[in-house]
């Protein structure tokens, strides 16, 4: 069962992560995103509201998505990252590379 859902509003693709961003779901999401970006997308927003954990492959996916969008002069952003995720993203300076915003209400995850 997919752990994410993808919706589109014009040239903007929204990815809602339902559970955790790790392992096989990353591979599935990579393929899905690749297909979306190939069809005239200028921005991708990844919503981590439902995610508790992001592993190294999840981080790699975020960077790869960001790199892919840069190549097409598009934009990649992440919203609703938990405190813990924000702390990890900051320590890896992902926050300097990707527009990441924190989950409102400060839910830890």
């Amino acid at each position: 069962m997919p752990e994410f859902s993808i919706s589109r509003e014009g040239a903007c693709v929204k990815v809602l992560i339902d559970r955790n961003l790790l392992g096989k779901s990353v591979y599935d999401l990579q393929k899905a995103l690749l297909a979306e970006i190939g069809t005239g997308t200028d921005s991708v927003v990844m919503d981590l509201f439902g995610a508790d954990v992001v592993d190294s492959s999840g981080i790699a996916l975020m960077i790869a998505a960001s790199n892919s969008m840069r190549k097409v002069n598009g934009k990649f952003s992440v919203v609703n990252a938990s405190d813990t995720m924000m702390s990890i993203f900051a320590s890896m300076r992902l926050t300097d590379r990707i527009d990441i915003s924190e989950r409102s209400g400060g839910t830890n995850g």
Binding site: L61, A64, A65, N67, S68, D83, S87, A90, S91, R93
Partner: protein
Amino acid sequence: MADDLLMEFINESLEHLADIETDLLAVEEAGANVDMELVNKVFRAAHSIKGGSSFFALNSVKELAHKTETVLDMLRTKVMAPDPEITNVLLAAFDRLRELLLHTDTAGNADVSDLVVGLVKLAESYSSPLNRNAINTTVTFNAEAKSTPVDIPLVDLQRVRRARQYVYVVKLDLVHDVERTGKTVLEIFKDMDATGEVLDCRIDFDAIGTLDGELSKKLPLQLYFATVMDPMVVNGLFDIADEGLVKIFDPRDPPLPGEIVAPTEEVAITEPIIQQTKATEPEIASENEVNMPVEAMEPAAVKETRSKAMIDETIRVNVNLLELLMNLAGELVLGRNQLRTAVGTQDQQALVIADQRVSQVTSELQNAIMQTRLQPVGNVFSKFPRVVRDTSIQLGKEIELEIIGKEVALDRSMIEGLSDPLTHMVRNSVDHGIETPDIRAKSGKPRVGNVRIEAMHEAGQVVIEIGDDGKGIDPKVIADSAVRKGLLSADKVAGMSDADKVALIFLPGLSTAEKLTDISGRGVGMDVVKTNIDRLGGTVEISSKVGEGTLFRIKLPLTLAIIPSLIVSVEDELFALPQINIVELLRIPAEEVKRRIEVVGGAEVLLLRDRIIPLVRFGELLGIAPTYIDPKTGKREIDRRLLSADRRSPKQTIDGQVEGGEPPAGAKSWTRKTDGRRGNVSSMLDIAVLTTGTQEMAVVVGRFHDTEEIVVKPLGVHLKALHEYAGATILGNGTVALIVDVGGLAAKADLASVSGSARAKARAASADLVDTSHTMLLFHNTPDEICAVPLDVVRRIEHIAPEAVETKGGKRTMKYRGASLPLVTLSDAANVGTVPSDAELAVIVTSVADREIGLLGAMPVDVVTSEMNIDTETHRQPGIAGSTLIRDNTTLLVDLFDLVDSVYPEWRRPKTVRPQTIVLPGEGSNEPQSVAASQPTVLLAEDSDFFRSQIKRYLEEDGWKVYAGVDGEDAWEILLEHVGEVNAVVTDIEMPRLDGLGLSARIRKDERTKHLRILALTSLAGEEDIKRGKDIGIDDYQVKLDRDRLLDGLHKLASAGVR
């Protein structure tokens, strides 16, 4: 969102900047005599800010910090000398950096061009035209095809080449190598900066690729790291896989485009270096060796740490911990309120509850505050890779450094205090411990030596071990060195165990290095190491095995502020013994005291299982008057009796033997030692066995109390000179207790011969000289005539009433222990006054010709020990051996044997020596042969004029011909002159130049003299001394000035023939 890592970087950077202004002004003031350490400190601040800002993508900060670094590098290489203009530009740059760091949200692309241009122009104005180009030039490196290229400024590469460093790209995975190891990138920066220089860093996001490729699970962090280390060393040091390290610059490579390598103004920088660099030095030297050849051996990281320690007067505390402290403070207030209410209502149960609450909160508060001060010991350890690497390169050694337990936490002040001693010990291991690869290979060891540093917790203390698998410490070499340098006598050293000899390395002034080196100092280090560790409340032990290695073991309390201690009392006074110094506690029942406490060499020792430990009586040592409860009044009174044995029973001697008979009527009886024992005890003894790390001692205390965690309060200025105390504390019941400094106590008791203090050295030296002084009993003949007898011949002193003296038949006697004791006075033989009839009389009981006899004198009596110049001529007459000045009074030295011979000539000992046939070994064979009868001759070796003249006279009166030498060396020369005449040797033990043991050993080794009988005279007649002497070949021991025993002993030896 709190970006903790960025906050940490900002806080650290602001700390670096805090003293920059002062430092830059000090640099300017020094002008051409620039303080290199200070410039380095400022340079490191700029460098550290540059490194961090590159990671945080604070590009403007990075650019400004880099240009500042360039100018500072020109200052430290003396290309430019500090002046106000330079200082102004630098101050403005640092001000701006501070401002940018306080506003990092806008700092990334802030405009700093004005300052950057100013700094560049300044640098250019001091550069040659050819080199100016380098300031604005960068060299592009590309670690791998997928990566984004990185530009390194050419000036940085010139600096790197000058320092003969390589540049590597160190590739780490931010996820696996950083995040999951619990490290931060800033910590990695610090580790690398301790052994080199991080030129730049970047996260290679591009290396991850895009969605259309296979995703890399690695998030590569690339560090551009300049260092002199080989790739293998870098790999090992930072635990980097081979593929994670790429060398991109080699200082031996041809110059880069636009790079000026040697001539032009660079000559000015490198000329002194070239002069200082020896041909034999390794090809690659560190940057600091280049820039500061004179004190080049100290890595910059070491200096940096030291400088930081000096200025670092603030600590950063985790906010959560602060909140915990706040909560606890609130709890404490609640507890206090509860306590007040309970006191006000006199509610006992509420008091108990309040007490429990306050106790609990106080404990938690103490723990929390302790945590604010604790820092990982790795802060000190981090500099050792550099220290070991630099030192080993310089010495041509191959050394692997193993560091364990970096995370062990210690009080901040301890960490700072440990830095220097640990560095010295690590350097010692590298310099003196580990052998060169060739020597190791010859000994069957791996070519690469191992130095291991480990920190661990052990029984509430922190233990730090520094070990190596080098050549170890040879106790004999250390002992010989100590003797050669006059720090200890050969006699003293001969009685030491190997462990004690090894511990002599802590003596001030001892260095066994055949060649002095710059690495480990000049023989003044290990005593300072011990003193510093003592100061930290710690102990240091050493164990070493020749050929296998050495291990130093340092034990430290977790904090200096609060130390667990055992409270003991002596009389009414309380003392705290730090638990770190306590080995074990003993309670010896009265009936075992005699068996467990012995006297060796005139001092008490405790026999503890298979060990002999010097015993110190705490009260006596500190001069605390003994007291007793008067059974009649119930009051505590001062016990005025002189010796502890007297407190038990007037009938019992110091040996614990019951004397026969009663003291004379009206007599107060003092018993005196007959064999040199100082005291005994009447009841159970509480003994604390303490250690300074190198020296154990047993301390008799009055009573053990509880253990307490005490808060250390420093002693006031007026008490600072009392080295036996480390401080004072207020105990739970409000009383004050002094905290014992065990090292100081050992020194005070003359035990600390291996202490690191100069005080101990002085004491050790004075202990060596003890044999040149005399201990005399003083008494009065008339009020104006002060007399003295050697204390060794005194058995007891009786205080008697005048009517106790009976005169019959011209002879005086007194009743004494059921018999009649003959009495003599000095006036019976010598031309002196008579003891006044109304004087308070003292009878000095001694033994002559196997009979007890009393010397009648007048009170007061006293005992003094001092060096004496004895005049054996001016006052010499029957009964008086000579005179000396004691406390500015001319004092007559009584010759008891001579006096008694005059009064009781019939007691006089018949001559025991007659002309006889002397048996000597046959010439050229070991077979004895007889020679003609002649006067028996004895060689006497004695350095004390007084004893020499006395003993010589005894011997001559007994029929011996005497040759006398003033020390062992003199006696040996005399012996060689009269080798055919001398039949026996009588020698003192402790003498300058050559002592009695040395003389005896020489006699036994020489074919011409080895047959001679040797009798040693000494006050040191403990079993250990006797055994040692007999092992060397001494035939008999006699106590000095016991004429009869000396002559009997000599007669027996003469009768026994040659050996």
